[in-house]
């Protein structure tokens, strides 16, 4: 018998899918033949696609959701081993360039059923309301086509679905309902941020985080071993894999693992007719009434661009020319240092404390936008990587530095990067193993971006010092991606509308991080899921009104 490692052969076959809560077990799964024109085929099962699959299935649509990655059972497939767990990341070849080439792979993209949320750090933050009207209210970048109050409602839905553990009251922003679970005990790394923030006279908080502080169904509470970013082997982490997808299966969605979509097929009426995908050794075609692309900010434009056809020679949904443009990572600069007391920062989820001071303070800034920063706890190999890449340490020196691991502390931002069209994803002539063109990812920081992270580095360095840390050093990094299929009010300046529906092809939708017009200074997954929830509800509403099959007209 072939090994069932999840990576060799698809698991979700023969009317069943892996039971994520039990070793070796299965749950029943409805299946649809390729020839059946399902209501929705969704490409990608991450924060956007997985959530939307659940919502649409629960609204009664027939849904097939495909993912290029494996269908894991966390309890038995995840090792406490950083090297082994590289298997969670999207490591297909990509070309990066620009002045500040983005580090890809584990840094920002996952390849699993459940998407990047399988290895994300679980920080679950709401946008600052004004960011939805950044241009009008704060004078930079562009406005979103969605009102913050509507988002507030959907944030609540996601927080409930993920049983977010958060502070009893959150110190920033307008009122939000109580988090479904209480905050976790503070780690020493989190405590460092808290006490040094108090010395700086700024606010701090327990971080709202998607890991359980009390049991939920078959999922136990967090055990604070800190392996979160290489996959949580207990199921305490509330990823798409163990929250939305079990619900989607219950509602008769089909999940296809190890299914790589190469192209969206267009029909004669200007509508998409389905997707070409590779699974279990052969190319297949799934018919669908609607296609949703949810492959994240690189794979989404790649697929849209690669689906160019005679009718849409520049790629699908690209009449604005903006597919692939405005790529925004978030700046992710960190300041690290050494303290006398033992910290053991690998323990517990790394980012248990946070300050959003510079997201909600508009004075004393020489830049637009904001940043949050959180406590840190890199695992040993990742830390060795930081020491090598940021400080060039190697050999004996690296070993000596690694001995200080348990006394290290750090603060790292999630910083807003402003949209620029020249930062983009394009296709190269080189092909990957499937014969699909390899994407080129071009990125350079703008002047505002630089001022932002320089401000952050200065401020955090000061905080590290008053907190008693010495031997400080700075790491430059990026995290999270957005922007390459932005939503907006105007078909000329956006790819999709507020409902994530493409302006050009009414049955083609994009629902993932790429629709962000701006990225704000918080981690994106809660917002991606909130948008997916909204999209699901909007689609159900449009279907009721018979608007799904009609062409959209510009507002």
């Amino acid at each position: 018998m072939a090994t069932d490692d999840g990576m060799t052969a698809p698991r979700a076959v023969s009317g069943q899918a892996p039971d994520v809560f039990r070793r070796g077990a299965w749950v029943p799964m409805r299946q649809y033949p390729d020839s059946e024109e399902v209501d929705f085929v969704i490409v990608g099962t991450g924060a956007g696609g997985g959530t939307l699959a659940c919502k649409l299935a629960e609204h009664g649509f027939s849904v097939v959701a495909m993912d290029a990655g494996p269908y894991w059972r966390p309890l038995e497939d995840f090792a406490s081993d950083e090297a082994e767990q590289q298997k969670l990341y999207w490591r297909d070849e990509r070309i990066v360039d620009g002045d500040n080439p983005i580090d890809m792979g584990g840094n920002n993209s996952g390849k699993s059923v459940g998407g990047s949320t399988v290895h994300f750090a679980m920080v679950s933050l709401r946008f600052r309301p004004e960011w939805f009207k950044a241009r009008t209210k704060l004078g930079y970048a562009v406005d979103w086509p969605i009102d913050w109050r509507e988002m507030w409602h959907y944030y609540t839905e996601v927080e409930q679905a993920l049983a977010i553990s958060g502070p009893v009251s959150y110190p920033w922003g307008p009122h939000r309902p109580r988090y479904p679970r209480r905050p976790h005990p503070m780690s020493a790394a989190g405590e460092f941020l808290a006490s040094s923030a108090e010395k700086m006279g700024i606010g701090w908080s327990s971080t709202p985080i998607a890991t359980l502080s009390a049991p939920r169904g078959l999922a136990p509470p967090c055990v604070y071993r800190g392996f979160c970013v290489i996959g949580c082997s207990t199921n305490a982490k509330q990823s798409v894999l163990n929250t939305w997808l079990p619900r989607a299966l219950d509602a008769n969605a089909e999940i296809r693992d190890l299914a790589m979509v190469s192209r969206i097929e267009m029909g004669s009426r200007g509508l998409a007719t389905g997707v070409h995908y590779y699974r279990d050794g052969r190319w297949r075609f799934q018919k669908a009434k609607n296609v949703v692309v949810a492959g994240y900010a690189v794979e989404t434009p790649r697929l849209l661009l690669n689906s160019a056809c005679a009718q849409f020679p520049d790629g699908l949904a690209n009449s604005s020319g903006l597919v692939g443009k405005n790529l925004m990572p978030q700046s992710n600069h960190g300041v690290y240092g050494l303290v006398d007391q033992e910290i053991r920062w690998y323990k517990a989820p790394p980012s248990l404390s946070i300050t959003e001071h510079w997201n909600y303070t508009d004075t004393g800034k020489d830049f637009f936008g904001g940043y949050a920063y959180m406590s840190q706890g890199p695992l040993p190999t990742a830390w060795a990587g930081s020491l090598t890449s940021s400080r060039g340490l190697w050999g004996e020196k690296l070993v000596r530095e690694m001995e200080k691991y348990n006394h290290q502390v750090g603060l790292k931002i999630v910083g807003e990067v402003l949209p620029q069209e020249k930062n983009q994803v394009t296709l190269t002539d080189e092909k990957d193993a499937y014969g699909i063109p390899i994407p080129r990812i071009t990125f350079s920081y703008g002047e505002n971006d630089k001022r932002l992270y320089e401000h952050a580095v200065r401020f955090m360095s000061q905080q590290m010092e008053v907190g008693g840390a010495r031997d400080l050093f700075v790491e430059s990094d990026t995290a999270h991606l957005g922007g390459t299929a932005k939503m907006g009010d105007d078909p000329r300046t956006s790819v999709v509308n507020a409902d994530c529906r493409s302006w050009d092809i009414p049955n083609l939708w994009v629902c993932d991080g790429s629709v962000f017009p701006t990225v704000g200074g918080v981690n994106p997954s809660l917002t991606i899921q909130a948008i997916a929830c909204r999209t699901g509800d909007r689609i159900a509403e449009m279907a009721r009104r018979g608007e799904l099959t009609r062409r959209t007209t510009p507002a």
Binding site: A163, P167, V168, P180, R181, R182, P183, P185, M186, E191, A194, S195, E198, S206, S213, A214, P215, R216, P220, P221, V223, T234, A236
Partner: protein, 329 residues
């Protein structure tokens, strides 16, 4: 230490029964609250009419019931503090004190339960008084520990810092134990006073406060657990009602039957044991379940904590017995 410290702590048995039996509240002339309240409180200080002194045998029975309650409380404290302080690595030697003190309180209680004689044992008295003193010291320590954390008395710190409920249970064990000795020791025909009140009222008040406090602790920790299981609402609903009924007993204090209160006390006593059962299941819901018990009994809900309710309810039942037996037929 004042010369009468022990006597004060353990109650004064020499005072005469109060004579202010005629004061009924509210006095006709004192309608305003200012004078009503003192009158009410003064009333607390008195024994109601028609209470008959208890015979020696009843006293022993009541005392033994209270010893049982004090012992269950001390047992709860022993196992709970053993686990919690082990978890804390006994980094401060004072963390052994509650183990020693609760053990002594258990021994004193076992001795009391097995003792059918009306004579008081000085060792028991001392063990119980020491338990109360250790508990008070623990309360102060724990409060200090919570307060000095970053954020002070923030939710996170009261959730995860040193709990106030555990040392309070030791205080209660001590107070009830001391009271048991006082009840046992009264001279025939006498109506002893305790903590400045008639004994039955004093014990009812301690029980009521104890139940309320323990329910508050459960409320805090179950809130921390987000009431993820509906059964987690039980200890924050039933014991507070029982506590209120016991408060009524403390205020009213008349010698009569109280079937509803008795039922609630029994239910509360049962709840204490049931809670342990729920917590055993709760431990299993942590990663690895009971196979990983060495870790999970430290992480999971505290198995020894809920019987505190049982201990207090047993003491409450003794008070009811006392009041029932002192009815004049």
């Amino acid at each position: 230490m004042p010369p009468d410290f022990w006597r004060r702590l353990t109650g004064t048995r020499t005072r005469e029964p109060s004579r202010a039996l005629t004061l009924t509240a509210p006095d006709r002339e004192s309608i305003d609250l200012a004078s009503y309240l003192p009158a009410r409180l003064r009333k607390l200080d008195t024994l109601p009419e028609r209470a008959a002194p208890l015979d020696a045998q009843t006293r022993v029975e009541v005392a033994r019931g209270m010893n049982r309650g004090a012992g269950v409380l001390a047992g709860s404290v022993l196992f709970d503090s053993a686990i919690e302080h082990y978890r804390g690595g006994f980094h401060n030697p004072a963390m052994f004190f509650p183990l020693v003190s609760s053990t002594l309180s258990i021994i004193a209680s076992a001795s009391g339960v097995g003792d059918n004689t009306p004579s008081v044992r000085r060792e028991r008295h001392v063990a119980y008084a020491a338990a109360a003193a250790t508990g008070f010291a623990g309360l102060a320590f724990h409060a200090y520990n919570v307060g000095k954390r970053t954020g002070g008395f923030s939710w996170t710190n009261v959730f995860y810092g040193a709990p106030l409920g555990a040392p309070a249970a030791l205080v209660l064990s001590g107070l009830l134990g001391v009271a048991a000795e006082r009840v046992r020791d009264a001279a025939p025909g006498q109506r002893p006073r305790l903590y400045g009140m008639p004994e039955s009222r004093a014990i009812a008040a301690v029980t009521s406060a104890g139940l309320a406090g323990t329910a508050a602790e459960a409320a805090l920790l179950h809130f921390r657990g987000a009431f993820q299981d509906p059964f987690m609402y039980l200890p924050v609903t039933i014991p507070p009602v029982t506590a209120a009924m016991m408060a009524a007993v403390a205020v009213d204090g008349r010698p009569r039957k109280r079937p509803v209160t008795r039922f609630l006390l029994r239910l509360t006593a049962f709840l204490g044991f049931a809670g342990t059962g729920f917590h055993i299941i709760g431990v299993h819901r942590n990663m690895g379940g009971w196979k990983n018990w060495t870790q999970n009994i430290q992480n999971g809900p505290p198995i020894p904590a809920p019987p505190s309710f049982t201990g207090l309810a047993l003491a409450g039942l003794s008070v009811l017995k006392m009041l029932e037996r002192s009815r004049r037929e």
